[in-house]
């Protein structure tokens, strides 16, 4: 399984903060994104290819090509606005 985590506007609009997803056929973050985009509703809109999405794998900043393994924690979130 891959542990998906969502933050801020993504968490609110999707109505979920975390979810376990089977890792079959998911070899990198982009594979996961494509699978999520096939869902109904806000998923396809929020995660569309033209959206600015930040991503982290195991709590380190990542990009769509970062490889994924069974047990990884993947976070998706809008651009950060701290400080």
């Amino acid at each position: 399984m891959i542990q998906l985590r969502l933050f801020a506007r993504f968490r609110e609009e999707l109505g979920v903060d975390s979810e376990s997803i089977t890792s079959d056929n998911i070899y990198c973050v982009e594979d996961l994104l494509q699978q999520l985009r096939e869902r109904e509703g806000a998923w396809s809109r929020l995660l569309a290819a033209d959206q600015r999405i930040m991503m982290a794998v195991n709590q380190e900043m990542a990009n769509s090509q970062t490889p994924l393994e069974e047990g990884d924690e993947v976070a998706l979130f809008p651009p950060v606005t701290g400080g």
């Binding site: 985590r5 933050f7 801020a8 506007r9 609110e12 600015r52 982290a56 709590q59 380190e60 900043m61 976070a75 979130f77 809008p78 651009p79 950060v80 606005t81 701290g82 400080g83």
Partner: protein, 154 residues
């Protein structure tokens, strides 16, 4: 050599600067940045602010940024504090304080750390304005601020 903390209650930036200085007579320069909550943003009155973060990743991201600053400049110490949760106007949001023997290193490291914090640390601001709640958008100027650090060699 450095301290990073995430605080859910108001913190005192002055205390952090005192802890950074200690009694160390090798410190010749302390540069500190305090980011404060304003009551106006993008033209609207802001009543309060909620700061969300990604516990675990936040600390790792800040440690990495500060570690890079220590590799890049000769520093005597650094303290970073970031508020999370509910804030009101005039509350300190973030403190970055850097100590070094000479001032140029402290200025550069302090600005480097806040610039990277703004674009790489997982915090998100939600404002409660007179027109309702809204997530704050990232600023393009913050992305641009990062670029100077790859262009310059020192």
């Amino acid at each position: 050599m450095f301290s990073i903390s995430i605080e859910s209650e108001p913190f005192d930036p002055n205390l952090e600067v005192d802890l950074l200085r200690g009694d160390n007579p090798a410190i010749g320069a302390v540069v500190s940045f305090v980011g404060l909550m304003r009551d106006l943003n993008d033209g609207d009155r802001v009543d309060h602010l909620f700061l969300e973060h990604y516990p675990g990743m936040t600390e790792k991201a800040l440690e990495k940024i500060v570690s890079v600053a220590f590799e890049r400049w000769s520093l005597q110490g650094c303290r970073v504090v970031h508020r999370v949760g509910a804030l009101k106007p005039t509350d300190p949001i973030v403190l970055v304080a850097v100590a070094s023997s000479h001032r140029k290193e402290a200025f550069k490291a302090c600005e480097f750390i806040i610039d990277y914090l703004k674009t790489q640390a997982p915090f998100w601001k939600k404002e409660a304005t007179e027109n309702g709640e809204r997530w704050v958008d990232a600023r393009q100027s913050d992305d641009e601020a990062i670029r100077q650090w790859s262009e310059e060699n020192n």
